[in-house]
């Protein structure tokens, strides 16, 4: 999130698109309701289902699953056509005035540069660049009139998304859609704040990244980034999924969002730093971040002479290793062992049955969890023959959240310490205990020999707490926070990091979270001070928000170039004529680090988006050096149909995202609308959590939500002769699942290009284990992915439904 949960109360308009906070983030919903009660916040809910969140909406806009880009681009078009965008913000703080290569084109649903490589469709992004003058500076037209400036390019691009066309695509009634456009665009003013809240409904598509880009473009045009009550607020699906992303659970990253080294592109540290360090933006400090990380991991062994042990890092082989790719490799027998650690892919991953089957190819499987999950029990699942499955399965009982201590990073980037309430039962251990013992056992094996033992034998691993079974979590936290190598003293923040090896830091964005607060006498992550001077809910001394305890990122954008707040009632920082007054930690150079002198606003007005090489928000995702905004599938979001769709693409003859990733095997089978006429979408419920591994083992929660069901509209039920509670079967090209029919007016057919389209909704919490077993919705989902993130397309597929 750019902002944080409490900040929702500061919004004038909240648009929830592809999220259902009332069920999946009740604590976030509380702040939306607070805003409604205290300042009359208006709530727009865009969802194919009338959700519990929609129950509180001022405007509920039904939308066909998978058409968010059309929906959002239509609002962008409306803002541009009616001059409702925030002109001064757009001119000064976005790349609207930047000139784009005149050869950049968009024709027939494809961007310029379409070509093939090794038989695959790819884009050559050469034309997705800015024009530069002879000194290499980007050419600009602050009048926004040049036909090649980003503003005009964008305007032309979205002009096809008029209300009529959008509604033919999305199925949203025109009058409702017009109200959404009017209400949301009313926030394009200095004294108004609009907040877009999203979750998996936006991301889980074969163009999920472009969906997010569309959200970003709209928010930039309306001047809603960097201000209280605004922002792009992605609600993460688990309490600490933000923390695990920060710690690089994704294969292409190192902790702190540093790129993972690539064997071909970065054979040496020098190559890595040259190619991955942008010349401008805060990322120009990349060498400090990486070298300090190497010092944290390899200690005294890491020296300038040996590239700080860079060669000991694992490197990417140019292949994809995301979730779906891992299971494809597993199915091909290329993966011998697998740790499912707090993860239940047999229920939670797409195409569940091929996933379960793939695990049959493993020699061993270790499951670390609270209960014997479907993944742990895959070898005796219904329909499997245990005698034929050779995989050796180990189960390590893990402590629950409240049975261990440590930090949890929420969606708003607040790293909050959580103390242990009770001891774990029986043999259950904390994850730290398990990983500590595991590492030591592996190291023991390497001491006896093995290939490439150096990284393991030389890894800094000294977390023992004398006299205690449990490793010392303070030592781990200090390493993540960073410390001076000579003294071992914690670093107050990442500004102190060096590229010489004098500092060590496991995750640069966390620097400062373990630094003692001088007033409160505890480390920052343990702070619980409720002081809120501004009344904006910033609570600067409650825990620690990365980066640098900043609550609202890009907050320079909350004032005009001369430092006057756009909206004095929502001021986060402002220039009082001689110095900066800061309620939030400034996200720009406010003071000269060396001299302490105030830096006047004109300077920071040049690059209010300090993490971005251009220094400004990117309406057009240009190909511009490392950390460019260009996605693999284009510099602007364009509507394509989901891989399985009941209709032709009305926007171009390009039916699907040409770069959509389609995997192999039965899990990637594509269904046709003739056979599978209804749209299938998946969702969660408040009573269960993810794959239900814990909640379906909790009697009080299974009591509330005991059985798998299939949501269908009253109209479809009538057509198929299905009564509420009937057992029905949902079929897709991948398989079938059974459940009880839930027939409610919360689902209604949509009119898409004159044709009625039905949506069938499946909650995905069930599996064959636990107190309340039931069919897993993911048996019928597919191995279709986004080309940038490889997230599966869980939200828009095709199915058939019958009475079972």
């Amino acid at each position: 999130m750019t902002n944080h949960f409490i900040d929702y109360k500061n919004s004038d308009v909240v648009m929830v698109i592809g999220a259902n906070p009332a069920e999946n983030h009740p604590q976030a919903m509380k702040w939306i309701l607070r805003g409604k009660a205290e300042r009359g916040t208006k709530l727009i809910v865009v969802d194919p289902r009338f959700t519990k969140t929609a129950a509180h909406a001022d405007i509920y806009a039904p939308i066909r699953p998978g058409t968010d880009i059309a929906f959002l681009l239509g609002i962008i078009n409306y803002a541009l056509e009616h001059n409702l965008y925030f002109h001064d913000y757009v001119v000064n703080y976005t790349n609207a005035s930047f000139l784009v290569d005149p050869n950049f084109k968009f024709e027939d649903g494809l961007f310029s540069g379409a070509t093939t490589k090794d038989g695959q469709f790819v884009y050559d992004p050469t034309t997705w660049q800015y024009q530069k003058d002879k000194d290499g500076k980007i050419k600009r037209d602050p009048t926004l009139q040049d036909p090649n400036c980003v503003f005009q390019v964008l305007k032309r691009f979205v002009s096809r998304y008029d209300i009529k066309t959008v509604c033919r695509v999305t199925g949203t009634p025109e009058d409702v859609y017009r109200q959404v456009c009017e209400l949301y665009c009313s926030t394009g003013r200095p004294d108004k704040a609009g907040n877009i809240v999203y979750a998996m409904g936006i991301t889980q598509h074969t163009y999920g990244s472009q969906n997010v880009r569309a959200v970003a473009i709209l928010q930039l045009l309306l001047g809603n980034i960097g201000i209280a009550g605004g922002g792009i607020n992605a609600q993460r699906g688990e309490s600490n999924v933000q923390g695990s992303t920060d710690m690089a659970m994704l294969y292409h990253l190192l902790p702190g969002y540093l790129s993972c080294p690539d064997a071909t592109r970065h054979p040496t540290l020098k190559d890595y730093l040259e190619k991955e360090t942008p010349k401008t933006s805060f990322w120009s400090n990349t060498p400090k971040f990486l070298i300090s990380q190497l010092k944290a991991w390899f200690g005294a062994k890491a020296t300038p002479e040996n590239e700080f042990c860079y060669q000991w890092l694992p490197k990417l082989d140019g292949k994809e290793h995301s979730h779906m790719a891992i299971f494809q490799s597993m199915a091909e027998g290329k993966i011998k062992g697998f740790f499912a650690w707090g993860q239940n892919p047999a229920v939670g991953g797409p195409a569940a049955e091929p996933t379960r089957k793939a695990m049959e190819k493993l020699d061993w499987l270790v499951v670390v969890d609270l209960f014997e999950t479907e993944t742990a029990a895959f070898w005796r699942r219904p329909g499997a023959d245990p005698r034929k499955i050779k995989t050796e399965v180990f189960f390590l009982p893990a402590a629950f959240s409240y049975e261990k201590e440590g930090t949890v990073s929420n969606s708003g980037r607040w790293i909050q310490y959580r103390w242990k309430a009770v001891d774990p039962p029986g043999d259950a251990k904390s994850d730290l205990w398990i990983v500590d013992r595991l590492f030591k056992a592996v190291r023991e094996e390497y001491r006896k020999g093995g290939r490439f033992p150096e990284p393991i034998l030389n890894m800094v691993w000294d977390y023992d707490a004398p006299g205690s079974e449990e490793p010392d979590i303070n030592k781990v936290a200090l390493e993540i926070n960073g410390y001076e190598v000579d003294t071992g003293k914690p670093l107050p923040g990442f500004a102190k990091l060096t590229n010489t090896g004098s500092t060590a830091c496991g995750c640069w964005i966390y620097a400062g979270y373990w630094y003692p607060d001088p007033d409160l006498g505890v480390v920052a992550a343990k702070r619980r001070d409720r002081t809120d001077k501004t009344g904006l809910g910033l609570y600067p001394k409650w825990s620690f928000a990365w980066p640098a305890n900043r609550r609202i990122v890009y907050n320079r954008c909350s004032c005009d170039p001369s430092g006057r707040p756009w909206d004095p009632a929502r001021a986060l920082v402002y220039w009082d004529g001689s110095k900066w007054v800061t309620f939030d930690v400034p996200d720009f150079g406010a003071k000269d680090l060396a001299t302490g002198a105030e830096i006047p606003p004109e300077k920071s007005a040049q690059n209010p988006f300090i993490m971005v090489p251009e220094g400004v928000g990117r309406l057009f995702g240009a190909q511009y050096g490392p950390r460019a905004a260009a996605l693999k599938d284009g510099p602007l979001p364009e509507h394509y149909e989901p891989i399985e769709s009941p209709v032709r693409n009305l926007m171009s003859k390009q039916q699907n995202n040409p770069l959509a990733k389609i995997y192999q095997g039965e899990g990637a089978a594509r269904g046709k609308p003739e056979k599978y006429p209804y749209i299938l979408t998946t969702h969660r419920l408040v009573e269960h959590y993810q794959s239900g591994a814990v909640t379906r083992n909790s009697p009080w929660l299974t009591e509330l939500m005991p059985e798998m069901f299939v949501g269908i509209s009253p109209r479809l039920a009538a057509k198929l002769g299905i009564k509420p509670g009937d057992r029905v079967v949902v079929l897709t090209a991948r398989g079938k699942v059974y459940g009880r029919a839930s027939v409610l007016p919360t689902l209604q057919p949509l009119k898409v290009d004159g044709k009625e389209v039905e949506v069938v909704a499946l909650p995905w919490h069930w599996g064959y284990q636990g107190m309340a077993p039931g069919d897993s919705a993911n048996v019928v989902t597919a191995l279709f992915g986004d080309p940038n993130t490889f997230i599966p397309e869980y939200k828009a597929l095709l199915c058939d439904v019958r009475k079972a």
């Binding site: 009740p26 604590q27 009591e703 007016p745 919360t746």
Partner: protein, 244 residues
């Protein structure tokens, strides 16, 4: 000063945390009532489920309205159940809660029949005698389930993330409810349910949907079977049965 809870139905998000918190605090077992079409299982209060959130889903000519209505014992100001109970198992406390003494309950069903909200339920099955059980407003003087007597809000109120439940003094909450109505024209129906209905209740409700539509009994109708208030005849019969 009698305590009360103000339920603002316009703020309820249907998260059902209150239901779980109630079971957790009161050590109540889970039941298995099975699937219901509108997801709101368990549908109704039982001897082991003292509070439920009922769903009201209506298609009002293309506009769907979905409301979540927490129900439990209303802790009436002048409770019919207490009047009906000749075994002396129920009493109205000065603090507001209507609480029961299970050791005195003889499972006569009188309170169930007297209650205008059909709240009292009887534990059948399981061990021990058949007794009436219902919400006790987390008031258990001297017992392990006490919260209100210790100056704490009931468990459900404590758990509510939506801000739908507010615990306080009855008089103050009625005042606040009226202020909310006055300050938000058009947001609520002009009624604080429980202020005077059935002689007044300790659980008070605000809503934007008329209360009758949400299944609240209208005070205009006579309370069901209120005739079955304790009579000497009935008492004699029951006492005889007990002694036999």
């Amino acid at each position: 000063m009698p305590k009360a809870v103000l339920v603002d139905l316009t703020k309820c998000i249907g998260c059902r945390s209150c239901m779980v918190a109630c079971k957790q605090w009161n050590d109540l077992p889970a039941e298995r009532q099975g699937f219901v079409n509108d997801w709101a299982t368990p549908r109704d209060t039982t001897a082991e489920t003292w509070t439920v959130v009922k769903y009201y889903i209506e298609d009002k000519g293309g506009r769907v309205v979905w409301r979540f209505v927490k129900r439990q014992c209303m802790h009436c100001v002048d409770p019919a159940c207490v009047k009906a109970c000749f075994a002396g198992a129920l009493r109205k406390t000065p603090e507001g809660p209507v609480i029961q003494d299970p050791s005195r309950c003889i499972a006569c069903l009188y309170c169930f029949n007297a209650c205008p909200f059909q709240v009292p339920r009887y534990r059948t099955g399981g061990e021990g005698p058949v007794i009436m059980q219902k919400c006790r407003f987390c008031f258990d003087p001297g017992g392990i389930y006490d919260r209100v007597g210790q100056g704490q809000a009931p468990a459900c109120v404590r758990a509510c993330p939506g801000g739908a439940l507010k615990f306080g003094e009855r008089e103050a909450l009625i005042k606040e409810a009226k202020e909310r109505i006055a300050q938000n024209p058009g947001r609520y129906v002009n009624q604080v349910y429980g202020e005077s209905e059935f002689g007044g209740t300790s659980w008070l409700y605000l809503s934007d949907v008329p209360f009758e539509e949400l299944g609240f009994p209208s005070a205009a109708r006579p309370a069901m079977l209120s005739l079955l208030t304790w009579t000497p005849l009935a008492a004699g019969l029951w006492l005889a049965a007990k002694e036999a």
